[in-house]
């Protein structure tokens, strides 16, 4: 078994933790190895083994050959204390500490569970619900109590029929919780999109869900809270989807309870190994919001997926325009892709709704609802671009396509190579409705896209 690398900063937000072990220490599963120095949570060893190296950003543990199931339990306390002690962070994206989010003091508010699994091709969240929906409901009740909510809503895409049916069977006896069906478009999992879909409240980009008297929490995170509260278990393992250019086919490989700190390469090997025909890049996270990574990089508590993409084609230095929005990669990520395609970055536009936040990141003003894109296309055209690369949501991509190709711009989407690798439709035109009927049995109108001549 390879060495495990526990990063001192597990989420995208917060400060690195400080190690509380030293080289040579024996650790068990669940042994506390690092504690926060600012915004952050406890880090526990995910294996039995020995600390062999402590670097500036990580603790390296050589695992023992024997890895028993048992783990060192966290101390008992209030539910909130146990979530904190267990080092639970959000597993849907940025990895914000859950004990801070949950301690919301809402006024008869809402716990909104994000089970949209919105990044295309991912499976692990929905599979977890299909297999065992009951803890999710118990977890929502714990969180409602902690956050001061009297209602829970599970937001889930309508296409996940098996999971919805599994939930419905339990929900008929639980009046405090309901489910809200989402259409299969990107993005539905952005937290303000979840608030809008479930509660009908459109939040400004700089507002948190608490402004709508709600918290939004990813479904896998709820399970981790349940494990912390009921089993005194720290967050040391998680579920991961591995998919793409993998030997044996492009179906999703869902690995459950993968120790945090496992390398990307080990997971790919477990799935079958890299496709011998070659690949483009490896993405840690989803195709929209993930980042390129390397085989030796470790997964963190916030990692959801490893995607291996198709090979880049060579644009031979063609002029490429970059359309940056808040739904996909930031400018740096898009520039990286242009380089990998061997294009020449020629012009950059920002989606009108990609509002810049004080920390330099961007958030969409109205996630999933396009503000129009033709003006950007005109700019790209004037700048002489042959290609444009976009990272937009389903709706905006559709708008880009309404004028781009007619102007002679060749449109590429940031996610193309990942979508080809997993056998998913490319993000181009939108044929499905942004509204779905909440009755699981009503078939929605998915093909009414006729353009009036």
């Amino acid at each position: 078994m390879e060495n495990i690398q526990m990063l001192l900063k597990q989420g995208a937000v917060g400060k690195p933790c400080a190690p509380v072990v030293k080289v040579g220490d024996k650790v068990k599963k669940g042994t506390l190895i690092a504690t926060p120095t600012g915004l952050g949570v406890n880090v526990h060893s995910s294996v039995y083994g020995e600390v062999v190296e402590i670097l500036e950003d990580r603790i390296i543990i050589k695992p023992d050959d024997e890895q028993p199931e048992e783990y060192e339990k966290i101390a008992k306390g209030t539910n909130l204390e146990m979530i904190k002690e267990a080092g639970v962070i959000g597993q849907g994206g940025a990895g914000f500490p859950t004990f801070i989010k949950a301690d919301a003091h809402l006024d008869h508010g809402y716990v909104l569970v994000n089970a949209s699994e919105c990044e295309p091709g991912l499976r692990h969240n929905i599979q977890q619900i299909e297999e065992d929906p009951a803890p999710l409901l118990r977890g929502i009740h714990y969180l409602m109590e902690i956050a001061g909510a009297d209602k829970g809503i599970i937001a889930i895409k309508k296409k996940n029929r098996a999971a919805v049916e599994a939930l419905d069977a339990l929900l008929k006896d639980d009046p405090a919780i309901e489910r809200h069906l989402l259409p299969d478009i990107y993005p539905m999992g952005e937290e303000r999109a979840v608030v809008r879909e479930c509660l009908g409240i459109e939040l400004e980009p700089d507002k948190l869900p608490s402004a709508a008297n709600a918290i939004v929490i990813n479904s896998e995170t709820v399970y981790s809270c349940v494990a912390a509260i009921e089993d005194q278990k720290p967050l040391i393992d998680k579920n991961i989807t591995v998919r793409g250019m993998i030997e044996g086919g492009n179906e999703a490989h869902v690995f459950e309870k993968v120790p945090v700190g496992t390398s990307v390469g080990a997971l790919i090997e477990r799935a079958g190994g890299l496709d011998s025909r070659g690949y483009g890049e490896i993405i840690m996270g989803g195709a929209f919001t993930g980042k390129s990574t390397t085989l030796d990089a470790p997964i963190t508590k916030a990692t959801g997926a490893i995607l291996v993409t198709r090979q880049f084609r060579d644009l031979h230095g063609a002029k490429v325009g970059i359309l940056v929005c808040a739904c996909g990669g930031n400018l740096e990520r898009m520039q990286e892709l242009v380089k990998k395609y061997n294009g020449t970055e020629t012009h950059v536009c920002y989606c009108k709704q990609a509002a810049e936040m004080p920390n330099g990141t961007r958030k969409c003003e109205r996630p999933g609802n396009c503000p129009g894109q033709v003006k950007n296309n005109l700019e790209f055209k004037k700048a002489g671009c042959e290609y444009i690369i976009i990272g937009n949501c389903s709706d905006c991509s559709n708008t880009v396509m309404a004028s781009g190709p007619k102007m002679g711009l060749k449109v590429m989407h940031q996610t193309d190579l990942a979508m080809m690798a997993i056998g998913h439709a490319l993000y181009r035109t939108l044929k499905v409705s942004k509204k779905v009927d909440q009755d699981l049995d009503v078939v929605d109108n998915v093909e009414d896209n006729e353009t009036v001549e």
Partner: protein, 623 residues
């Protein structure tokens, strides 16, 4: 792009077109509509057919879509459940009102001494009791994206130049004297000296200049007299006045001595014959490629000292190459300056010019922002040398991070910019351009405004750097507390990104801005924002292009005068009418006409390349 309620109101009578896909049952709101400002581009490119489209005003009253339709679909009667009746188009197009425009804007601007022509204002006379005169300058904006709000019929703004403000006496902040010395013969020889009106230059100075620069293989001098203007030359990298400071005066103060009748011309190629230039080159016969009389160019009749450098291969597009050439040439010029200091006497002065920086308390405070190139290679400028247009003592703006740097008007006209810049020949501002900067000149001589100073801001290569300097500029202008600003640029394309960003940074702070650029056909703005609604187009070329004729499309007095008129109108709160979509000379011409009427003066416009003998290159490539 989707529009706001306010924009929807302005465009109530324009066609309603969906900006994005919208599903059946959607109640239409302004957020559903594309901005009509860009329709003409879309119609032109065949992306949009507006036949049968209802207007925005007709479908904002609770109309719902009966069908799911895609982006750029015009809203027609068959896809909405209801719509309002069309209003009779009562509003006379602003253009007509404007055309009747009357006269006299009080306080006519002093006619520009040297130059010619100008353009830019439409005056609208609303005769109501007391006279109210309103100027509506017309933007010229190169078919740009720049969203210029459609002309809103001007609301009667404050009566013209009412003497409401407290006006103090004009204050002379500083003075400088230029002493002119006539040269009518230049001889290359063994010694650098001035005897009478003959300038002798030691030829070996050029060799020494080259020897001191590792990258310069050779530097040769020759003298081109007016009877020899039909001489072939490699691309012109710079035209420089030959001037020096008296005593220990710094730029912009004391006394400057300048030679009349002669200029320094820098040219360069690499060993394998590549022109040291980018985006076109002015190589060819001088008489076919020199736009005589432009502020930055040679005046017809002047003697040209040509300093021609050959540098290492591949160094033409790297910073050290052009820097080495300019430094080598300056070695020669400095020797002439030294001779001027020692040998010229006051008896030889043929003309004395006292230049004053005047502040006019109580008048509208304005600032001139000049964007200069700073992308590297020859896109660079030496700022604030010790001698006028010198090299020593100066700092390249690239090394300064291209951040905004303040200068006073006299420093500008005393050669504080040594330009290496080399974008397209027709729009580049050479060192001599700053020495005779028309906008600075017109602004300090305009009794209606109080010029606070000039800011130079470099144009970096990377977009992130562009926005960095732009934000600094905005903050600097905010702290100056001005009533209006000019932003000028040379070249086009890449630098328009920061040019428009500068305008935005200043504009969003509530300061009216007028921009100057070559745009026309080839240089149409690639970006824009709502503050780019008042633009002066420096184009003079017949076809609206970068025609590689040196300085053809640079800022001239006629442009400065139009710009001043436009800024004054904008500062008075008037709306600038949007330009026609496709570039046409007519806009400038009608602006000129309106200014002539308003000021009661005649503007003579400068000539363009059509006045020059046709070159083979121009014939083949352009005209």
């Amino acid at each position: 792009m989707s529009i706001t309620a306010e924009t929807a109101k302005q465009h109530a009578n324009d066609p309603a077109v969906l900006c994005c896909r919208a599903e059946a049952g959607t109640e239409l709101t302004p957020a559903n509509f594309e901005d009509p400002a860009i329709f003409p581009d879309l119609v032109d490119s065949g992306l949009l057919n507006l036949d049968g489209a209802l207007t925005i005003g007709q479908v904002l009253n609770g109309s719902k879509l009966t069908k799911t339709v895609d982006s750029l679909t015009p809203v027609t009667a068959d896809i909405v459940d209801k719509f309002d009746a069309a209003e009779g188009a009562e509003e006379a197009p602003a253009a007509e009102e404007v055309a009747e425009a009357a006269p006299a804007v009080a306080a006519p601007v002093a006619a520009a001494p040297v130059a010619p022509v100008a353009g830019g204002v439409i005056s609208l006379h609303i005769g109501e009791g007391k006279d109210i005169n309103i100027q509506i300058p017309v933007g010229i904006g190169g078919g740009a994206v720049a969203a210029a709000p459609a002309a809103v019929a001007a609301a009667p703004v404050a009566a013209a130049p009412a003497a409401a403000e407290e006006e103090g006496e004009a204050v002379v902040v500083r003075e400088m004297t230029r002493k002119h010395y006539k040269i009518d013969k230049v001889v290359l020889g063994d010694e650098t000296k001035i005897e009478g009106t003959t300038l002798y230059i030691r030829e070996a100075a050029a060799t020494e200049g080259a020897d001191a620069q590792k990258l310069v293989h050779s530097l040769t001098l020759d003298v081109i007299t007016p009877d020899n203007y039909h001489t072939y030359t490699e691309t012109v990298m710079d035209i420089q006045p030959i001037a020096t400071k008296e005593d220990d005066y710094e730029l912009g103060e004391g006394v400057t001595r300048v030679l009349d009748g002669v200029v320094m011309m820098v040219t360069g190629i690499t060993e394998e014959g590549i022109q040291v230039g980018e985006f076109g080159s002015s190589e060819g016969y001088i008489d076919e490629n020199m736009m005589w009389g432009r502020p930055g160019a040679v005046d017809k009749g002047e003697i040209i000292i040509r300093a021609h450098a050959v540098i290492d291969n591949k160094k033409n597009m790297e910073r050290p190459g052009p820097i080495a050439i300019h430094t080598a040439v300056d070695h020669v010029t400095q020797e002439i300056r030294n001779a001027m200091k020692k040998q010229l006497t006051d008896e030889q002065v043929v003309d004395t010019q006292v230049m004053k920086q005047v502040r006019r308390p109580g008048k509208k405070k304005i600032v001139i922002v000049k964007e200069i190139m700073g992308q590297g290679a020859m896109h660079d400028n030496f700022l604030f040398p010790t001698e006028p247009v010198g090299v020593l003592g100066a700092k390249p703006n690239v090394d300064l991070g291209n951040v905004p740097v303040a200068a006073n008007p006299l420093e500008v006209m005393d050669g504080c910019i040594h330009a290496l810049t080399c974008i397209g020949p027709a729009s580049k501002e050479m060192s001599r351009h700053y020495w005779r900067e028309p906008l600075v000149y017109e602004a300090i001589h305009d009794d209606d405004v109080d010029l606070v100073g000039v800011i130079f801001v470099g144009s970096p290569q990377a977009n992130t750097d562009k926005f960095y300097v732009s934000r600094r500029l905005g903050q600097m202008v905010e702290s100056m507390n001005v009533d209006g600003a000019f932003v000028t640029t040379e070249g086009f394309g890449n630098n328009h990104v920061d040019f428009t960003s500068h305008i935005e940074q200043i504009g969003k702070r509530g300061v009216p801005v007028v921009g100057f650029s070559f745009c026309a056909v080839q240089g149409a703005l690639v970006t824009g924002n709502k503050y780019c609604d008042a633009m002066i187009d420096n184009n003079k070329s017949m076809s609206g292009i970068e025609n590689e004729v040196l300085a053809c499309n640079t800022l001239c007095h006629e442009d400065a005068i139009r710009g001043l008129a436009m800024l004054k109108a904008k500062m008075a709160g008037e709306t600038i009418k949007a330009p026609e979509r496709k570039y046409t000379h007519a806009v400038k011409e009608s602006n000129v006409e309106l200014i002539e009427k308003a000021y009661g003066t005649k503007m003579e416009l400068v000539e363009n390349e059509q006045s020059l003998p046709m070159s083979e290159k121009r014939k083949a490539k352009y005209d």
